[in-house]
Each structure stands twice: as C-alpha cells, then as structure tokens.
C-alpha cells in the first residue's frame, strides 16, 4: 500500500516540472528526474559541468582551457588574502580541509540562510575588522581558494527546521516566479528550455549550477560569484536585481543548492 502511494508520487512529480507543495526531498527527486529524462544520455554527476555537457565541441575547447585554468591565480591570491586575515583562520579553523560543503546552511539563532561570503563578513565584523565588498576581488579570490579545497566533496544541503523550510520555500518561489519586463522565471530558461539556444547562447540546466562558483568569465574580465550570476540573469530579463548577499539571493541559493544535493562541489571554474 505504502509502496504504491510512493510510486504514485514519483509518477506525478515526474510529469510536473514544477515541484508541488511536497517535501523538499520530493521536490529534489522530481527536479533531478526531470533532467534525467530530458537528457537520458547524460550521467547525473556530469551536470556540474553546465553547458559543456550539451555540446562536444564546446566541451573540447573548455577542457583545453582547463589545462591552464584562468582561475588559478585567483586561488593563489585568495590563499594569501585569507591567511593575511588572521581572524579568518580562527573563525574557520578547518579551511584547509574544505568548508564549502557546509554552506549554505540555515542558522537557527539568526533564523536566516548563511552563505560562505556572509559568514566571512560576519566573522570580520564580529572582531571589529572592516567587512569585504561582495563585488570586489578580495572576497571572490578567497572564495576561489576555499572552494578549491572542497572540490570533490558532496553537495548535501540540509533543511533542519520549519523556519529553514520557509527560507527554502521562498527560494523556490523566486525560482519559479516570472519577473522583469521580459516576464521570465529562472525555470523558464534553466528548466523548461535547458539545452535550447537563446540566440547563440546555450541554456544550461539548473541542476548542478551552484556547484562550481566562483567562475571565470572572459566577458567579466575575471571571476564572479554565484550572486553576481543571479544579478546578471535578473538584468537579462530587465528585472531590478537584488543586492549581492540579500536575503532573496541567499534563499534562492539555498533552494538551488538543495536541488543539486548528491552532486559534487567543483569550483572554481571557467565558463564562456
């Protein structure tokens, strides 16, 4: 009896690409199954590689770039910057073993989603040090360094409480809401039309997207954070972007990362 009920849920959720009012775990399996069915020849673990899983000639070009990755200096500079901020070593004693897999998480005390950049600034502020600008290189290079230490670790976002579920729900709502003058939701481009071309640009599947930030983009002339990408994609549809590390973007990151649970951390990376 229980088993058939479970099967029914699977069948229903795999038909509807928009996760319903179910549990986050059901949402996640529906989301991942949707992409498995849409791209049956692509292994699940490959989805961390964005557009490069969709086009073999792009992939070759990308693999060639990865041999001398343009984010390498960011990792080195980030390590120096991190070590120069002595207090950060105290706040994050396990940094060298990789801490990225612990973010984003829901903090019970402050009742909000904590991302790694926010945790860095919270640490600095708590010890009377000036906070870092989320748009500037220093923090992005630190992220490149810290992310690199976590490469290969599993994405395992947790939703431990009703308050956390609430933040997740808000992130999900953001993801499926139409916005901007062009009236498009994230899901229109990265779920419904993943793999299609918008003008010359391939649309990457939403699955795996948060796994490899910060990314180096030639267009950006350097590295950018996940929230900078959110800003970029909001502007694309002529919507007013939110501040980097705003509550809206942190909730969105929480939802999006949860959807990628089971894949691996793979940052920093390079994208066209």
């Amino acid at each position: 009896m229980k088993k058939s009920y479970y099967l029914l849920i699977i069948c229903l959720t795999s038909v509807i690409s928009t996760p319903g009012q179910t549990t986050p775990e059901n949402d996640r399996s529906a989301y991942q199954n949707y992409f498995k069915q849409k791209f049956p020849s692509i292994e699940l673990k490959e989805f961390i590689n964005g557009i490069y899983i969709l086009d073999s000639s792009l992939r070759e070009y990308w693999e060639a770039i990865e041999e001398f990755p343009p984010y390498e200096t960011a990792i080195e500079e980030g390590e120096i910057a991190f070590n120069n901020h002595k207090i950060l070593k105290q706040c994050f004693p396990k940094a060298t073993q990789g801490i990225v897999q612990n973010y984003p998480h829901f903090d019970r005390n402050t009742a909000q989603v904590i991302t790694l950049p926010l945790a860095i600034n919270t640490c600095l502020a708590k010890h009377g040090k000036p906070e870092l600008d989320y748009q500037q290189n220093t923090i992005i290079q630190m992220l490149a360094y810290l992310t690199y230490q976590s490469r290969g670790k599993r994405i395992a976002t947790k939703i431990p409480s009703a308050a956390a579920k609430n933040a997740y729900d808000k992130g999900m709502e953001f993801y499926y809401a139409r916005r901007g003058q062009l009236n498009l939701a994230c899901a229109h481009c990265h779920v419904d039309n993943a793999g299609q071309r918008m003008r010359a640009e391939l649309l990457s599947p939403g699955l795996g997207q948060p796994s490899h930030f910060p990314v180096y983009r030639a267009k950006w002339g350097g590295m950018g954070s996940l929230h900078r990408q959110f800003e970029r994609c909001n502007k694309r549809v002529r919507a007013k972007p939110f501040d980097l590390q705003s509550e809206e973007y942190r909730n969105l990151e929480y939802f999006l990362t949860y959807m990628s649970n089971g894949l691996t951390w793979n940052g920093p990376s390079v994208r066209d």
């Binding site: 003058q181 062009l182 009236n183 299609q196 071309r197 918008m198 003008r199 010359a200 640009e201």
Partner: protein, 124 residues
C-alpha cells in the same frame, strides 16, 4: 438663417478635425507597405527592441535561437492578422506558460513599433 451657417461651419470644423486626427493616427501617407516591413524587420532584429532572433529563426537573420518555432508561412498560420498581433502583444493569452515576452502588454515595444513588427512578420 444665420444660426444655420454657424452650425454648418461648426460641423465642417468638426469634420476637418476628425479627418485630420484619423490621418495623423495612421502612418503618414508617404510610407509604403515595403517601408513598413523594412522598419518592422529592423525593430524585430534589434537586440534592444524585439530581439526575436533570440528565440526564432527568421529569414535574413543570423545565429538564431531555437526556443520558439521558425517564423515562416505566417499568412497560412494566421489567416486572421489580429491573432498574430495578439500573439506578439501578449502570448500568454494563447499559452499561459509561454516563455515569449509580452511585447505590447509590458511595453517592450510601443504600439507603432509593434504594428510594424506585425507587418514584417506577416510578410514572412
């Protein structure tokens, strides 16, 4: 008698203004159909305006996207031009989940621009 001429005059003035406002709301006399189509094409291809090539293959446009269907045989697809106008004005009227932006409803294009785009698309 005098009243009659005043009335006549008033009616004439009224008719004059009505006529001139109609011709002003139309596109001015000098513009031919071909020029409307050419202007519509420019608007449709302009990335900051229609940017229709983002999603549609269109004759004469390079590197089109493939999110929407190629725009061909529009006269056969839309015997009623009004419906084509609606599709571009607000596609959600036909498909609630449409990814195509509502060019008229969200004022991405002005009414005049949209009319020209319709002329262009109808010529495909």
């Amino acid at each position: 008698m005098k009243n009659q001429t005043v009335l006549n005059l008033a009616i004439n003035i009224l008719i004059f203004f009505l006529l001139s406002s109609i011709s002003a709301s139309r596109i001015s006399f000098g513009e031919t159909q071909a020029s409307l189509i050419a202007q519509g094409k420019k608007i449709a291809f302009n990335r900051k305006k229609g940017n229709c090539l983002a999603c549609h293959a269109i004759k004469g446009g390079s590197l089109p996207g493939n999110i929407g269907p190629p725009l061909i045989n529009m006269r056969d697809r839309y015997p009623d031009k009004e419906q084509l106008q609606t599709q571009i004005w607000d596609p959600t009227q036909y498909n609630q989940h449409s990814i195509m932006p509502p060019f008229g409803k969200h004022e991405i294009l002005t009414k005049e621009e949209l009319d020209k785009v319709v002329e262009f698309v109808y010529s495909l």
